[in-house]
Each structure stands twice: as C-alpha cells, then as structure tokens.
C-alpha cells in the first residue's frame, strides 16, 4: 500500500473542506402552498411570515364540486381571488397541499390530478393524528411525491426551509 494518502483520504479531510467552491445557491424552488381547510389556513398564515423568496400561500374555497380542478377557487392570503389554473400558470416547481381534516378531499384529488397532468411536483403535509384527514390523504396519495403525516405544524416551515423556497 502506498505510504501516501490516497486521493480519497486526502480529499475527504477536514482541511480540504475549506477549499470547496463557495458558489452562490440561487433560491431554486418556486413553491405554492394551498391550505385545504380552516385549520390548515391558519397554519399557512403563520408560516407565510417566513423568509421566503418565492412562495405563494393560498386558501381553497371548498364550496361546490371540484370539477376537473382548473376552476377550483383559491384566494391568496391577501384576499386576492385566483383559480387553480391561474396558480399553475405561474410555473411553480412544487405545490404543497396542507390539510388537517377531510373537508378538502375532493379538492385534494383535483389539485393532485391537475399538477400530475402538468408534471408539477406535489407534496402533501397532513397535520393531526391522521384519522381526521384519512380521506384527504387517500385522495392525495396517487399524486403527491411526498406525503408527510405529522403532528407538528412546524414541519411545514422546516420543509419549505429545507427545500430553499
């Protein structure tokens, strides 16, 4: 064996870590968060205060059938009305759906389908013990690349932070 450190041993040392290129990381994720029910909306309001560069937060009007999804009525936290089609036209690269119960199950499925059809990454965060929202979970499952079933509302904040939203 060579008496000198191999390239791996040399390169992985703590000293060499100093020479890693410190390039700027542009905030890459353009995220839209859609709260499906009342409690989810209050979580979204709290999280919206975070230091986000490219996030939009919306609540979802649950009255009426979800239809093919595009007409689902959304409302920005500033109160400005929108539709799912309008939101998806802004080119998000991840849509995070928040639910705490089953009121938004039809909308969950429709949002999932609409994102799926446009190949937009969908993530679901379901807060609570999971039972109150099991229909919403089932509706999201086929489409959401990730479902986080959580008792902890700060997970929403952590997820967006980790994804560099």
């Amino acid at each position: 064996m060579s008496p000198f450190p191999s390239e791996s041993a040399w390169a992985a040392s703590a000293g060499e870590a100093r020479y890693r290129i410190d390039g700027t990381i542009v905030s890459a994720r353009n995220a839209r968060v859609i709260a499906l029910d009342e409690r989810a909306a209050s979580v979204a309001r709290r999280v919206a205060d975070g230091p986000w560069a490219q996030a939009g937060f919306f609540t979802c009007e649950n009255s009426g059938p979800a239809g093919d999804g595009d007409e689902i009525a959304l409302r920005g936290l500033d109160g400005v009305p929108s539709t799912l089609a309008g939101l998806l036209a802004t080119d998000p690269d991840v849509v995070v759906v928040l639910a705490t119960d089953d009121t938004g199950r039809a909308q969950a499925a429709a949002i999932g389908r609409a994102c799926g059809a446009r190949a937009i990454m969908t993530a679901g965060v379901v807060l609570g013990d999971g039972f109150e929202a099991d229909d919403a979970v089932a509706a999201l499952r086929p489409y959401a690349r990730v479902l986080l079933l959580s008792a902890d509302e700060s997970d929403v904040f952590e997820l967006l932070t980790a994804l560099r939203v």
């Binding site: 990381i25 993530a123 990730v146 959580s150």
Partner: protein, 428 residues
C-alpha cells in the same frame, strides 16, 4: 438546507452539548461481545460521544467501562494488567474495579484509606445479544435495557458486525432513512448480492426508479414508506422504521434475513456502524452466515483484527472502474456497506448542510433532523424524556408489502411493522 448553527447542534455529541445529552438518555452499543471474549482478557480502548474510556472483563466475568486514564498521573490503563478482579495501572500499580473504584494504591501504608476516595468515572456495561451496551447519562434516568428484536432472537438466528466509519454520525445515519439511493447506488447488489438477490420485490425496485414517499411519526421515531408501482392497481411498499436516536432497519427482501443498523458517535468526526442481520423464525444458514462474515449484504470485510474496512479511504475504497463501466456496481465500489460509507465519507468529516439542495424525496431526512432537534431542545429546556428511550418503542420491524393502491401503508401494515415474536417478517 440546514442553517449552519443547527448543523452544529445536530452533529456535536460531546459532553455538555444538547445532542450529546440526548444520546446520553439511551443505552448505546459500546463494543461487540467478541472484543472481550473471556475473563481477564486484554482491556479495550473505547471512545464514545467524545469520551475516552477503557473496557475490561474482570476475573469474575463482570464487564466494566471506566475512564481510560489513571487517577494518579494520567497514564492510559490500556497498558494495564487485567488480573485478580481488577485492572492495575502499569505505571505505579494503582488498581481499579469494574466500577472505577480504586482498590489499591501500593505506595500507601497498609491502613491508609486514601484509595477509598479515588474513583474513576464509570458507566454500566451490559451484554444484550451480541453487543455490550452502555448508558452514559444520569443514573437516576437510566431506562430499561434495549429490546430490539435482533437482540432477542436465539443466537443462531442473528449476526452483528461492526465497522469504523470516518465521518460524523448524522450523515451516516441519514443514509439509513434515504430510500431513494437504493435504486442507483445499490442496483448491482439487488442483482448479485447473496443476501439480497432473487427477491420478487427487487423487480419492483429496479423497474420503478421514482418512488413516492410517505413519512409518519411513530412512538419511537418515524416510519418512512417508499412506494413503487407493482401489478395493476397495487403498490409495492418498503417501510423503514427509525427508532431514535440512531437505529434503523432495512425493509426485507424475500426470505433473506432482515437487516439494519445502529450508528454511534465516536467523536464528532467518526462513528461506529453496527450492522445486524437476523431471521425472526429460523436459524441463519451456514451459507448466509459465511456471506455475512465475507462482508456481503450490509456487512463489511474488515482488516483482520480490526473494525476498519479493508476497502477504506486510504486505498480509494478499491475503486474498480471496470466493474462500474460494466454495470456490475454503480459506483465502482464493491459491497453495499462500502458503497454507502465511501460516499458518506467523501462528503467530509462533517458535511456542511447549509450548502445542500434538498428535494421533496428527502422528506424523511428533513423530518428526522427536526425530530432530533426538538427532542434535544425539549430535554435541555424541560427535561422531557425523548422518544425511543422506552424499550417498548424498540419493538418495530421493517416490512416490504404489496397493497391495493387506496390503502394507507401504515393502517394496513400495523402488524407487519410490530414485533410479534415467533412470526415471520412481512416480505416480498
């Protein structure tokens, strides 16, 4: 991405650090039983959570884990003589028992009681399964002994190996709940490894490289479910349990033994990886045991007489570009254990998580970091006992199941992920 201060918080486990205190709430593997094979055998140096200790087995078979350095003038007790129910320092002959109590100071007069007041820090060292476990926290909070299933089955059904990993514990552990790397890094192993190959589930793995993930809290930590397409209308689920702080299990494949890991910080730049394989209902076959000894599956081939893998950073992990080109291995490194370790070590001793670009598929890792941090803060600020301390939390299994698409992986797999002694693992 993780803020730099949180990265430091999670990766530092020395005395007095919040994560160090968290680790000190649990029984942790300190040695493999084979390291102290008989009474009065040579003592062994042990470093855990940035504390240097010496382990020995006295003339009566009692195990001890005490401060490495003699109370007299600080010589290492590794040079000591392990005889007549105690470890005697080779410098001036001070002698200690397994609790660190000084028994003899030869230079003192016969009825001096000086040595009664000399006691080295010591921790309990207890054999459970093939490992010697220690608890380095407040004795008043000491929990029941570990009850993981790999420790509870008869000896002929279980095997544990150990290897030194030259990086912080967290980046090693994160590999254990990162199901999305398997299809890439370990694709060769799914086809060729004697402890993996041949399972029906491997086909689903290899045919669907974009798994979906569900992450759910458990009492002791998390369940991470990775879902791939199976036959029409069905999903193939691989469910990985994590028990805090650092125990994970790999979902099983066919009737192969089930495996998993326990990561233990040595110091902030090194950790021990304990890798186990067991079968809940049958003895391991000779062939299986030999394959494990030869470093297949999750095990490593170590330099004889050490726990350092034969393929390590000093020899570029025996990189084989030919095998990589031919597709026998994805990265050119042989063996699942060293495929993981080589990449984890390549990140540097403590990876700078403020530079990461995480994706939604990393949600298990994101959630695990969050749970660790919350538990460490709750312990520090309010004395809350963290998840995974209660031995009841240890009774989980990994599982590999095919379920109808509409079913929740957890609701349908409750039994599959709970230990029922004497029942086989849920596996495809």
């Amino acid at each position: 991405m993780l803020r730099r201060d949180i990265n430091e918080f999670l990766t530092q486990t020395g005395p007095g650090t919040p994560m160090g205190e968290l680790f000190r709430q649990y029984w942790l593997p300190a040695l493999h039983v084979e390291e102290l094979p008989e009474n009065d055998c040579p003592p062994v140096r042990v470093k855990l959570l940035s504390e240097r200790m010496i382990a020995f087995r006295d003339s009566q078979g009692r195990y001890g884990l005490i401060d490495e350095f003699c109370a007299h003038r600080g010589a290492s007790l590794w040079f000591g003589r392990n005889e007549e129910s105690g470890l005697r320092c080779s410098y001036h002959g001070w002698k200690y028992d397994v609790t660190g109590q000084c028994l003899e100071v030869p230079s003192e007069e016969g009825n001096s009681n000086f040595c009664e007041n000399v006691k080295l820090t010591s921790y309990p060292l207890v054999k459970v399964g093939d490992l010697l476990w220690t608890y380095m926290g407040d004795p008043a909070r000491r929990p029941g002994l570990p009850e993981f299933e790999f420790l509870q089955v008869p000896p002929e059904q279980t095997y544990t190996s150990k290897r030194w990993q030259q990086c912080n514990w967290l980046q090693a552990f994160e590999g254990g709940i990162d199901s999305s790397h398997v299809t890439f890094l370990h694709s060769g192993g799914l086809k060729n490894d004697p402890l993996f190959k041949g399972a029906k589930g491997n086909e689903y793995n290899l045919n669907d490289t974009k798994p979906f993930f569900e992450v759910a809290d458990s009492e002791g930590g998390l369940f991470v479910g990775a879902r791939r397409n199976a036959e029409e209308g069905k999903y193939y689920w691989r469910i990985t349990p994590w028990v805090m702080p650092a125990f994970t299990m790999v979902p099983p494949r066919g009737d192969h033994p089930v495996h998993g890991h326990f990561w233990v910080p040595i110091d902030d730049e090194n950790c021990w990886t304990y890798s186990f394989d067991y079968h809940p209902v049958r003895a391991l076959t000779e062939t299986e045991r030999q394959a494990m000894l030869d470093g297949h599956g999750v095990h490593s081939k170590n330099i004889p007489g050490t726990y350092r893998p034969a393929a390590n950073m000093d020899n570029d992990y025996l990189m084989d570009r030919g095998a990589q080109r031919r597709g026998e291995t994805y990265s050119g490194i042989a063996g699942i254990a060293m495929q993981d370790a080589s990449l984890q070590e390549s990140m540097g001793p403590i990876v700078d998580r403020s530079k990461e670009r995480l994706v939604p598929a990393d949600s298990g890792i994101i959630k695990a970091r969050q749970k660790l941090r919350k538990a460490a803060v709750a312990l520090r600020d309010e004395g809350v006992t963290p998840p995974g301390v209660d031995p009841e939390h240890h009774k989980v299994r990994s599982a590999a199941v095919v379920l109808p698409q509409a079913e929740s992986f957890l609701a349908s797999s409750r039994d599959a992920v709970t230990v029922t002694p004497g029942t086989p693992q849920a596996s495809i």
